[in-house]
């Protein structure tokens, strides 16, 4: 069962060059490929990270899913409903936090949340719990939104997206502006939602948080899907950095499966190990190792590696 699927979802802007060049019309709007044939599938009940640098197509994808943009080609569905035909029905069942959310400044936090809950047509059953976890007191909620700091606005944004207990939450850069304590509170909220079977789709630049909370990730670059897989699988395939200090001759690592970039100098050896680590461990058994450091794989490096590969 999938919460979100897209098949060949494409968005191009502009009309591109004219089919017949007209000398008196020298300039035509350039055709921009914001998203090119995106195929993703988000399973129900998982936390799915959507990664990519600025301009990669993350927001375009979210806006297509929510009906703000119309696809140039391809199709998509959310909770089994077509993103073009059933957009209103979809929005009845989801929660959305836009990136850099703008709020109605002339309302108090409480009035704003009540208004948005009314517009949702569903009771705000999670509001009290969310406000408590995000430390939004009754006094704070009685203040005008225009007096809120950026972090407070983001907290209100999170509450408005989740207060009506949606089946699927689409969150664009949700921890932007939150301090580390509030980020942790937010991750705990995600854990709770996941435990209750809710699906979370969120885009982020913060790789450590994606690594911390997501089950799977999709990586997008220049409007194209570069990778989509489990976090664990992504990290397992990533090369670990190994450094060892030796008290004798270095072990023979040439030809050992997964080992690359071997460098030795002044009683030190460094290399990189990819995938299954056991062949490497077997090769260094008995070696005169005085000290050994194996740096764990981080999503950030895996992410950058993807970009380097895609760029080349």
């Amino acid at each position: 069962m999938y919460a979100i699927t897209t098949a060949g979802l494409t968005k191009h802007y502009g009309r591109g060059p004219l089919p017949v060049p007209l000398p008196f019309l020298a300039v035509s709007a350039p055709r921009v490929r914001a998203l090119d044939s995106l195929d993703i599938a988000v399973r129900a009940g998982e936390i799915f990270g959507f990664l990519g640098p600025n301009g990669a197509g993350k927001s375009t994808t979210i806006r297509l899913l929510l009906g703000y943009l119309h696809p140039t080609a391809g199709a998509g569905s959310i909770l089994g409903l077509d993103i073009v035909r059933d957009s209103v029905a979809i929005r009845r069942r989801i929660g959305y936090l836009p990136g850099g959310i703008a709020l109605y400044d002339s309302l108090t936090g409480e009035q704003l949340l009540s208004y948005l809950a009314d517009l949702s047509g569903r009771p705000p059953v999670r509001r009290a719990d969310l406000c408590e976890r995000l430390e939004l007191s009754a006094t704070t909620l009685r203040r005008l939104v225009r007096d809120y700091s950026r972090g407070m606005r983001q907290k209100i944004g999170i509450v408005q997206a989740l207060q009506h207990d949606p089946e699927l939450a689409i969150l664009d850069e949700p921890t932007e502006g939150l301090d580390p304590l509030m980020q942790r509170a937010f991750y705990q909220i995600l854990d709770t939602l996941k435990a209750e079977g809710r699906t979370i789709f969120f885009s982020s630049h913060v790789l450590s948080e994606v690594e911390r909370v997501c089950d799977r990730v999709a990586i997008i670059r220049r409007g194209r899907l570069v990778a989509m897989e489990d976090i664990a699988g992504l990290l397992a395939r990533h090369k670990r950095n190994v450094n060892m200090r030796l008290s004798g001759p270095p072990p023979r690592l040439d030809g050992v499966a997964g080992v690359s970039g071997i460098e030795t100098s002044d009683g030190r050896l460094s290399c990189r190990v990819e995938g299954d680590i056991r062949p490497f461990l077997a090769a260094i058994v008995g070696a005169p190792i005085a000290d050994l450091t194996i740096e764990p794989a981080h999503l950030e490096e895996a992410f950058l590696e993807f970009y380097e590969d895609a760029a080349s």
Binding site: S59, S87, P98, G100, L103
Partner: protein, 267 residues
Amino acid sequence: MNGALFRQTWRFQGVKLAVVSSALAVWGMFLPIIYARFGSQFRAVLESGLFPEQFARFGGGDIFSLPGSLALSFIHPIAIILTAVFSVGFSAGAIAGERQRGTLEVALARPISRRGFYLTLFAAAFGFVAVTVASLMAGGIAGSLFAGVIGEIAVRNLPLLWLNGVLLFGSFTAVGLAASASFDRLPPALGLTIGIVVVMYFFDVLGSLWPAAEVLQPYSLFHYLKPKAILVGDGSLLDPAVLAAVIVAATAWALVVFPRRDLAAPS
């Protein structure tokens, strides 16, 4: 139609509506009193030949009769500016303003279609126009009662005047909302709507003051509100029909264009 959006729109505009309605009521009250107190003196001045006769027909109103003074209260720049707070300001900003501020994102993330969103704002805006025109007329009636001249008009003609007034300012509202639904930023929507109102007002006033320019008047929507004629029982049903047609055309445009537009992320 979305009830929550409708109620909130009224709440947002409540204070402004109260202020504008009060100002219009005071303005509406003012001219019948002027007419009752000084009307005959103004007529004598005009008949002395000091001023051209056209000055007594500014936009179809005058201060020598109660219907004329009530008509003047409708088409005087003060009334136009006050009603424009909603028929131009609110309508042009209703969608383009929210889009520019980024709040449209949050509202449209709810289960409300773009057509539903537009029609809700349309209904709210027409409500504002209906209240402001009613306030202007209520002021006129109060002023006439106060001055003891209410007997000079037939009260049965007032509903048609109200309807025609609502349709005139409602047509500007519909144009403003259509512009608002067509642009991503407030300035072009507001500029276009103000431009249309100002040009049409100029056409109508110029035509009323200068016979050679009368040919321009049918191109102005102001031409299709003739308060004095309505109050003396000579109102034409063609006038509200023309204004209603403009409202229908502008609304049809918005209902086609707005749902089809791509709403890119606000910058």
